[in-house]
Every structure is written in structure tokens, then in C-alpha cells.
Symmetry: C2
Subunit: 207 residues, 2 copies
């Protein structure tokens, strides 16, 4: 497949959410203009984004809400269940483990890990916190798809290296660190400090 821009993927994810809202609202047809307004973009952008994957609309009419939603789910790989492990049983890790929204969208937490003896063996939302030293062994057996890192920046690279060696292919990191992974592994960062600093810049430099 031709290379797809990250920004396109993020918009597809948005469109899908809107389509699901329309589905629930009983709306059966939608135009690129309507999707664009909801998503804060333009109708041409919506059509271009979709055009990378095919032609899903009817000229003069628009898109069938249910059909387009189904296509997007297929494109995004959301027709299946992804096995997620959470590394770090601190506040954020615990909050994520308890978050029901993930499962609804096909992301199932299967285990929570930590390195602290205080946490290992304890319960987090029904999961017994596992010793991070068993990560590689477990990963080879259970083959998780996505690892979510909710650990401090120090040591994060070491854990990522271990995950990669165990065959993980996708990582979502909350650690405020720039992690190195081979090009075969997908890595996304959620860096709250960076977002707050962006806001600080905006506040400082807006009139």
C-alpha cells in the first residue's frame, strides 16, 4: 500500500467516532461536508483521506453511515481484539487498567506488570500485578499485541528493549522520554509534559 500520513490515520479515527454517533442517532447517510464540520476540517480533506483506501460514496448523495463505518473499522484493523499489557502499576497504569472504554473498542488488557515488591502480587482492577522480570517469558507465551508503558522515564528504554526482544510490535508510551525502537515496531508517545509546555508557549506568545 502507498504510504499513508499519520495525520490521515488520526482523522480516520475521528470520522469513525462520528459515524458511530450517527449510527446511534439513526442517521443513515452523511456527506463529506458533514463529517468535515464535525472534525474541524474540509470536505476535500475527508474525501482525500478516504480516497487512499477506495471509493465508498455515492455521487450526488454521500456515504452510507453504516457501510463507511464498517469499512473504516476494517481499514483501521478494529474488527478483532488486540491484547494489551500495561507496564507500570502506578496511578496512570491503574487508571488505564480500569478504563472500560478500551475493551469496548477491542483493546483488552490481559496483564499488568510492575517492578516494585510493594505492587507485585497486589490487585489492580482484578488483575494480579505481575513481576516485570517475568515479562519476556509471559510475552512469548501470551503474545500481547500492544504494550502500554506507564513507568518513569528512567528505565523505560530498558523495558522497551526487553519488550521488543520478546516480539512486541506496538508500544504506547506515557514515559516522558524519547524511546528508540527498530522500524518494525510502532511507537506512539503520550507526553503530558510536552502538551502542557505547548500550552505554556501558546499562552506566552498569544496576544
Amino acid at each position: 500500500m502507498r504510504h499513508i500520513a499519520e495525520s490521515t490515520i488520526r482523522r480516520l479515527s475521528l470520522y469513525l467516532r462520528f459515524l458511530e454517533e450517527f449510527e446511534q442517532g439513526g442517521i443513515s447517510t452523511v456527506s463529506s461536508e458533514e463529517l468535515a464540520q464535525r472534525g474541524g476540517t474540509t470536505s476535500a480533506q475527508v474525501r482525500k483521506d478516504l480516497s487512499f483506501f477506495g471509493s465508498f460514496g455515492k455521487r450526488g448523495l454521500g456515504y452510507d453511515v453504516h457501510e463507511l463505518a464498517e469499512r473504516l473499522r476494517q481499514i483501521m484493523g478494529l474488527g478483532r481484539e488486540w491484547k494489551v499489557i500495561i507496564i507500570g502499576a502506578g496511578k496512570i497504569g491503574t487508571a488505564l487498567a480500569a478504563y472500560r472504554g478500551f475493551r469496548e473498542r477491542g483493546f483488552s488488557v490481559i496483564a499488568v506488570y510492575d517492578s516494585s515488591p510493594d505492587k507485585i502480587g497486589g490487585k489492580v482492577d482484578g488483575f494480579t500485578v505481575r513481576d516485570i522480570r517475568n515479562l519476556s517469558r509471559d510475552a512469548q507465551r501470551e503474545k500481547p499485541d500492544i504494550a502500554v508503558l506507564t513507568i518513569p522515564a528512567e528505565g523505560a528504554q530498558e523495558v522497551v528493549d526487553r519488550l521488543v526482544a520478546s516480539g512486541i510490535r506496538a508500544v504506547l508510551s506515557f514515559a516522558p522520554a524519547q524511546l528508540q525502537v527498530p522500524p518494525t515496531v510502532a511507537l506512539k508517545n503520550m507526553n503530558m509534559a510536552m502538551e502542557l509546555e505547548s500550552l505554556s508557549f501558546a499562552l506566552t506568545n498569544q496576544d
Copy 2:
């Protein structure tokens, strides 16, 4: 000032973190190439990013770590304390209220709000959870700089409208919704579902 790209701001935030690590490590001089390697970019990119704000380096030598860090803090508006309120005393809101890293970087949580009678009046990391109905009144008195939204998508727009009316100028939203704000208000989203779906796409479409 000439318009600065969001991507540039995010990199400056990265560079600053690296510089602070170098400062702690006792390294006094750094080249654009060294910053680039750490940040996964190129030396030309680093120099271009900095060039929007001035010339901070010495030709043939590089940048003074301490001086450049100071300049970046100034550019990003990190020389002062920003007052942060957290809206939503659920798992994520509670985790953020307790996170010490924010204060260290100049972001001080001054209050936590919720709409649930179960939560209002309770304690979250030393803060008495306030009734969200008092948000406007409090905001006018306390003038928070940044609101962090950790509430469900439903109702998020209404809360944002209230915040905007109360004079807030920066919002960091964890709600999986596309919020509308006037152009005078800076808005950043942290959308975990979107990041996970990006990873799902990558897993599905990588060979």
C-alpha cells in the same frame, strides 16, 4: 512574531528536556548534531527550529547547555508558575492531581472539580473536590491559566464553554471528543483511543 509550527514547539520541548539532562550530567556544551540524535531528528532541523527565535550558538563550537536551556525556558514561557485546574475527579484526574512532575515544571494544580455528589467534598491528593457548579465563580476569582479535562465526552463541550466564558485561555482535554473553542483559546487533546487505533492500523498494515 512569525508563525511557529506546532511541530517546532514540540521539538523545543524535547530539546529542553535533553539540555536539562546534560546540565545534570555536567556537560556544558552541545552541538546541534548531538541534540538531533537524542531527539530522532537532524542537525539542520535543530538549527532551523532555534533560528526562529535567535542565534544562540557559537560557530565551530556549539551551544552552551545552560544558556540554551535558559533561552528555551524563556521562549516556552516556563519561567513562571501556571495555575492548573483539573475537571473530573475520576481515575485519570486523580492520577494527574497526584503527579509531582507537573509542579516541578511549573504547572501547579490549584483545584479539582467534579459534578458527582459522591466525589464533591471528598479529598484527592490533599485537594477537597469542588462542585463543578462553582467553576465559573471560582475561575473569576482565582484566574487559573490551564484547565485539564478528565471527564467523559458527553458534557465536555458544555464544560469547555463554561471555562471559556470564565476566561480560561488554555485547555488540555482527555475527553475523546472534538471540542470547539474560539481561536483565542489554545486547545490540546490527549486521545488515548486515537493513539491505540493508530497502533491498530500500524499493526494491521505493516508487513
